[in-house]
């Protein structure tokens, strides 16, 4: 289980503890937080890696992937640190991978539930889905959901070079380009004041699209 975390000291401990009850090792990548995220994660029993400066969620996830692969993980899950994902969804994502039905499982709030999702966020996410479908051809209903599962083989073929939020589209691109088998699993996203404040801003979408297009043009950094 890999979590990129930036200034999540107030919630990270509880999220890690919940996950550790049922789901093995949790790797927290503290992405240059200015608070006690690393300490809280370690106290809760996670493996904690620390970026000395903030490099973005994509960079943090790749750091976690590399750590997990070096330490022999057979399955790798990504999970947001802000507490918006439901721990019970982890098994749902792992199921198809364990049964050999897919190499990658993406969580979808549009197949599952997202109580309290603001309309603006819904529209923005749907635009993201449309953009991803046009750009990479991936037929997904939710392209910017932080809960995903990968087999070891799939994770080893993915290399996230987009350090910041454009990593979500890059990840899907690489899944398609590597001919990995993927599917979507219904998941629940809880929208809280905290997760909304921490989440992606609409104004950041332009930068994400720009970064995505530059990477398409220039190749990985």
């Amino acid at each position: 289980m890999v979590m990129g975390a930036f200034n999540e000291a107030s919630v990270i401990g509880e999220v890690v503890r919940e996950l550790r009850v049922h789901h093995g090792q949790v790797v927290v990548v503290d992405d240059g937080s200015g608070d006690q995220t690393a300490l809280r994660g370690a106290e809760a029993g996670a493996v904690v890696l620390r970026h000395v400066i903030n490099r973005g969620q994509g960079a943090a996830l790749q750091t976690g992937f590399t750590y997990c692969l070096r330490h022999g993980a057979q399955f790798i899950l990504t999970f947001d640190a802000d507490g918006q994902h439901s721990v019970t969804d982890v098994d749902r994502l792992l199921g198809p991978l364990l049964r050999g039905e897919a190499d990658v499982a993406f969580g979808s709030r549009f197949l599952g539930e997202a109580p309290g999702m603001p309309r603006r966020r819904r529209i923005l996410l749907k635009l993201g889905v449309l953009f991803t479908r046009l750009a990479s051809g991936a037929r997904l209903t939710d392209t910017h959901n932080g809960i995903r599962a990968f087999t070891r083989e799939a994770a080893s073929r993915i290399r996230i070079s987009e350090d910041r939020m454009a990593h979500a589209s890059e990840l899907i691109d690489q899944v398609v380009a590597n001919d990995l088998r993927y599917l979507e699993v219904p998941v629940t996203i809880r929208y809280t004041g905290y997760s909304m404040a921490k989440g992606q801003k609409a104004s950041g979408s332009f930068g994400i699209v720009l970064n995505y297009l530059f990477r398409k043009l220039l190749g990985p950094a």
Partner: protein, 121 residues
């Protein structure tokens, strides 16, 4: 030759010479060194013989020499921004790789380590 032309040509020639010197001292790659020397030489020629820009402009279907210089300047600036962006991406990537490797080599807490003291309180 006007005062501006004297100063302008002097500066352009100086920068062309510096570009070549930097290339010879291997502080600039050969392609970029030659490119910079060519740009400064062209600038020196354009300042010294402005009528040449008019002839070149008309050959290219542009009415005024000043317009040609302006368009070249804009194109050059855009190309410069692009090259700086590419370089910046490379530097960003290198910083990330460095930060990642440091994080992987010195974890705050490894899987088999005991919980930090405060967790046991």
């Amino acid at each position: 030759m006007s005062t501006f032309q004297v100063v302008g040509v002097g500066l352009a020639v100086m920068f062309a010479a510096l570009s070549l010197a930097a290339t010879l001292r291997r502080r600039l790659g050969v392609p970029s060194g030659i490119a910079w020397a060519a740009v400064w030489t062209a600038a020196a020629v354009a300042i010294a013989f402005p009528e040449l820009t008019v002839v070149t402009a008309r050959t290219l279907g542009i009415s005024r020499g000043a317009d040609l210089v302006f368009y070249c300047g804009i194109l050059g600036m855009l190309a410069g921004f692009f090259l700086i962006y590419v370089r910046l991406r490379r530097i960003e990537r290198d910083i990330t790789l460095l930060v990642r490797e440091t994080a992987l080599q010195k974890p705050v807490r490894e899987a088999d380590e005991p919980l930090p003291a405060r967790a046991a309180e």
